[in-house]
């Protein structure tokens, strides 16, 4: 009979910071572009070049550290991690081993099993490597240093997670925190967030940690979940068979749905870390720390509480809206422009998310202004447009951030308040649809649709269907 195991999981999460320039030189961090356009002697490892620390990177790292309840290391340093690989132009990576910028943090996560804290062991700053481009035809390999020197923070958790759900809750919390801080877009599929899973099993109820493996190449939350489940099975099988788990680094293959050994502990490299003599110690004084503290934005948990308190919208709505900083911004902007919170919320969690799905727009890339949404809601409230037109107009707000009033006027979509003309049209409709009128008289209520539809069509939709209904009924009563 197999034993019951518990997973013990810790994560190493790399987050690419979205500073304008690289961590040790003035080159742009822009993603994409032709190979080696954003390079200089520093980030291409030219002899004699020297790194100079970009303080904006430190700002963002401290900001993440504060948001995750870390202690900020006031006297921090950079170290060199030595290893040979062609994407690493100096053949050492400038990182932090001995005095990382942040230590001893924790974040609260929530799963079906309730709330708990996951502790953060440390967080350090480092530089990203370049990219190798393989030409499979010629067998040649080229290197692109555009990404070389892009700033990263590596956030190392304690082994406090016990299931895939907890891991996903932790990652989601981390992602949202970093996004709210505007420190990174945290896209797993684009590599601006990278997750390595450290995992071991132990018998339920025991304390002693088992031998762990580290798994890399996890490019989506789904892959992470599958990988953890797969690794649980794999290690459990090994332990059940009375064998020992090998300490090693594994690589996840999401297509095949399993992982395989990348390198074992015996192959582990000696990185020969030592303090980088080219960089001076990084001293975070009170003033610096105070400046970052003062500019910390409202985070998701704080927002959630405030929305419930100030706007009284349902918890479900709050959850969806605060899931993305961009949606929360639109929401607040809309409400601050005078629109009803629930109506703004409805447009966001309804139409906005639907359009995002239809157009395959990344939610983080949604950028229309809440002000425009508010004025659309006002047009509706004043019955200057109807729901159908509102949806049409909103599509343009969503795509081009148009001003709804100007757009509706320019495209002649405002409902004519000339009731005389509408009454005329209703008369015309009644006259033009004798069969429908007869059916109505005979009690077939459905026939009403044909008459109303005729009016809406003739008026090109610029009328309030409720108003049309009322007028048709009045007209029929006269007959």
């Amino acid at each position: 009979m197999s034993k019951e195991y518990e997973a013990v999981i810790g994560l190493e999460v790399h987050v690419e910071l979205n500073t304008k320039t690289k961590i040790f030189c003035g080159c742009s961090t822009a993603f994409g572009g032709s190979p080696n356009i954003n390079v200089c002697p520093v980030c291409s490892g030219m002899p004699g070049s020297l790194p100079v620390l970009n303080r904006a990177v430190v700002d963002k790292a401290i900001s993440i550290g504060l948001a995750t309840n870390c202690n900020i290391t006031r006297n921090s340093k950079f170290d060199r991690k030595n290893y040979f690989y062609p994407d690493n132009p100096q053949n050492y990576q400038i990182s932090q081993l001995y005095y990382p910028i942040c230590r001893d943090g924790k974040i609260e996560i929530e799963t079906e099993n309730g709330k708990k804290f996951v502790r953060i062991h440390e967080m350090h700053m480092e530089e990203d490597a370049g990219k190798l481009i393989h030409n499979t035809f010629t067998g040649e390999t080229y290197v692109d240093f555009n990404r070389s020197g892009v700033p990263l923070v590596e956030i190392v958790s304690e082994p406090d997670m016990r299931s895939a759900d907890e891991v996903l809750a932790y990652l989601d919390k981390l992602r949202l925190t970093v996004q709210y801080l505007n420190a990174s877009d945290c896209k797993l599929n684009e590599g601006s967030m990278r997750v390595d899973v450290n995992m071991s099993l132990r018998e339920k109820g025991t304390e002693k940690l088992g031998t762990r493996t580290e798994t890399k190449n996890l490019n989506s939350f789904k892959a992470i979940k599958r990988c953890i489940e797969n690794e649980f099975e794999r290690q459990a099988d090994i332990l059940d068979a009375g064998e020992k788990v090998v300490q090693e680094t594994r690589r996840w293959d999401d297509d095949k749905g399993y992982s395989y050994t990348m390198r074992s502990k015996e192959d582990a490299q000696d990185y020969r870390y030592f303090p980088d003599p080219d960089l001076v110690p990084l001293i975070i004084d009170d003033e610096w720390l105070a400046r970052i503290k003062a500019s910390q934005p409202e985070l998701r948990d704080e927002k959630k509480e405030r929305y419930a308190r100030e706007y009284g919208i349902p918890e479900y709505d709050i959850g969806l809206i605060t899931e993305y900083k961009e949606l929360a911004n639109i929401f607040e902007d809309g409400v601050n422009s005078g629109a009803d919170p629930k109506k703004v919320s409805n447009w966001i969690i309804g139409e906005t998310l639907r359009l995002a799905k239809d157009f395959e727009t990344d939610i983080a890339d949604i950028s229309f202004s809440g002000k425009n949404l508010a004025s659309l809601i006002k047009l509706l409230d004043e019955k200057k447009i109807n729901n159908t037109i509102a949806k049409q107009v909103f599509e343009h707000v969503f795509k081009e951030n148009v001003n709804p009033v100007e757009y509706a006027e320019k495209n002649n979509l405002i409902i004519k308040t000339d009731t005389g003309a509408l009454a005329e049209m209703v008369k015309k409709a009644v006259a033009a649809n004798p069969k429908a009128v007869a059916d109505m008289k005979a009690g077939k209520k459905k026939a009403m649709g044909a008459i109303v539809g005729f009016v809406m069509k003739e008026m090109k939709g610029k009328c309030d269907p409720a108003e049309v209904n009322k007028l048709v009924m009045e007209e029929l009563a006269k007959l």
């Binding site: 002697p41 291409s44 490892g45 030219m46 002899p47 004699g48 070049s49 020297l50 790194p51 100079v52 620390l53 060199r80 030595n82 040979f84 062609p86 132009p89 100096q90 053949n91 050492y92 290197v143 000696d270 020969r272 870390y273 030592f274 003599p277 080219d278 960089l279 001076v280």
Partner: protein
């Protein structure tokens, strides 16, 4: 009209003045030195690259500027040589190594840029020990440089090319670099003057690193006045080098004063015990007595920590070097082995074929002391020793303005003598490495000649950023030594 010989007999500052006064053109000066390069290179091999055409073009450009009434500095139009460790855009910068034997940088080092902005003309790039590792300039891929005083002897190193060029008068002055004595020791062996400035005084940007926490660029010239003038130009804060100092006390020529009255000079007794040549000892101690005559207060004291300096230095320098030299891998620039089977094979062959023995020795030593299990016992301990040495110097500088010592325990060695025994060569750095470990400035200048007529160097050390005190002491001594000063047989 000055003859080429007359032009070459001027110091750099004298020449600069005459160029500014339009008595001599920069083109004439450049031709005079190119002529001397022609005369001497076959014997001494001081240059890796001579840029005759570029230099003359540049001199002509400078002359036009001077004709327009522009004066950029007191060295405008003066032809200088640059150690091949300093990057110059589109100019071979080999570091004396095969692995960079085809390397043309895309940018110019800050120190050279500062010289160019001052109107200096660059004659060429000078020979050096490979990657500045060595004390003889024998480890250069481009062949050894010979000492102009005696062609059977080494010029010292690693800035041996710069020292030999100044001594042979095939440049008006030169830049060198000093990680453990690489300016001062060749200056001593070649009978010229050099300054190792305070760490951080001169930007290291564009200097191909050997030991990053120890490396410093400095002047090597005919006298202390020239050195002060050059240092004034190359020093200053550089936003491209985080370790460069932001200070405004760089008017070094203002301290060229003939006055050491009341100056307190300490002479470490423990520098004169074992392994020092009798002639060196006699002349250096005589120099100390000369200072007393000139009005300084001279005292003998025990500095301490002397025997720990060399091991600490070699551990720290090699550790940093092993990492600094990782970038030479055949991937991006420089030499790549022609035949290889895979990436690791390419790395291995490129580096095995591209680096010389001394460089490999130091990479292995450095990798060893940084490896896990040995890091604390070697590297961390060496840093502790470094801190103790700094303490010893600090307490000495509480009492003294200057610490006076030999530069090297011997005069120039015979060619080949130290190749077979690297440890012996390392021990020759006993008086120089502490200066790099503590970051303080020191001047090396001639103070006498041994029984074979070879020059002996005097080292004057000052507290951090007190170059001016050392320059003042050096200037005063130099004035008293004028009658005795000799030039190498190739000088004229």
């Amino acid at each position: 009209m000055y003859s080429s010989k007359e032009i070459r007999n001027l110091t750099a500052v004298e020449l600069g003045r005459k160029i500014a006064d339009k008595e001599i053109t920069s083109v004439q000066a450049t031709k005079a030195y190119l002529e001397q390069i022609e005369n001497t290179e076959k014997s001494i091999n001081a240059y890796i690259t001579v840029m005759a055409e570029k230099a003359l073009e540049r001199a002509d450009f400078i002359d036009k500027k001077i004709a327009d009434g522009e004066i950029w500095s007191n060295l405008m139009g003066v032809p200088m040589a640059i150690k091949d460790v300093l990057c110059m855009k589109d100019t071979l910068t080999s570091c004396g190594s095969k692995i960079l034997g085809n390397f043309y940088p895309t940018y110019t080092s800050t120190a050279v840029e500062n010289l160019l902005n001052a109107g200096v003309v660059v004659l060429g790039k000078t020979n050096m020990d490979e990657f500045a590792m060595g004390s003889t300039t024998e480890s250069s891929y481009f062949g050894a440089t010979k000492n102009p005083w005696d062609l059977n002897r080494v010029p010292g190193g690693s800035s041996g090319g710069s020292a030999a060029a100044v001594a042979a008068n095939s440049c008006a002055a030169a830049l060198g670099t000093d990680t453990g004595g690489s300016i001062r020791q060749p200056a001593s062996f070649c009978g010229i003057t050099g300054i190792k400035p305070t760490y951080g005084r001169v930007s290291r940007y564009g200097q191909i690193a050997y030991g990053s926490s120890l490396d410093q660029i400095g002047p090597m010239a005919k006298d202390i006045t020239d050195c002060a003038a050059i240092l004034e130009i190359i020093s200053g804060h550089d936003c491209k080098d985080s370790t460069s100092a932001d200070r405004d006390d760089t008017d070094f020529t203002s301290s060229l004063e003939n006055n050491v009255k009341g100056m307190k000079i300490g002479v470490p007794k423990d520098y004169f015990l074992d392994g020092i040549d009798e002639d060196v000892k006699t002349n250096v101690l005589a120099a100390a007595e000369k200072f007393r005559e000139l009005g300084a207060e001279v005292e003998y004291f025990d500095l301490g920590m002397v025997k720990y300096a060399i091991p600490a230095y070699y551990i720290i320098a090699c550790a940093e070097a092993s990492s600094n030299l990782e970038r030479f891998d055949g991937v991006k620039y420089g030499y790549r082995t022609p035949k290889f089977t895979d990436l690791n094979d390419m790395y291995k062959k490129t580096r095995s074929e591209g680096f010389g023995d001394e460089v490999k020795r130091r990479i292995m030593l450095g990798s060893f002391v940084l490896s896990s299990g040995y890091f604390d016992a070697y590297y961390v301990k060496a840093l502790r020793v470094k801190a103790l040495i700094k303490q010893a110097f600090d307490s000495a500088f509480e009492k003294y303005d200057i610490i006076l010592s030999p530069v090297a325990p011997t005069t120039a060695l015979k060619i080949g003598e130290s190749l077979s025994d690297p440890i012996k060569m390392y021990l020759g750095d006993v008086y120089t490495v502490s200066i790099n470990l503590t970051g303080i400035p020191a001047v090396s200048l001639p103070c006498g000649y041994d029984k074979d007529g070879l020059p002996i160097g005097l080292q004057l050390m000052a507290q951090t950023f007190n170059e001016k005190t050392a320059i003042k002491a050096a200037y005063t001594f130099e004035q008293s030594f004028k009658e005795n000063l000799r030039h190498s047989p190739m000088y004229e």
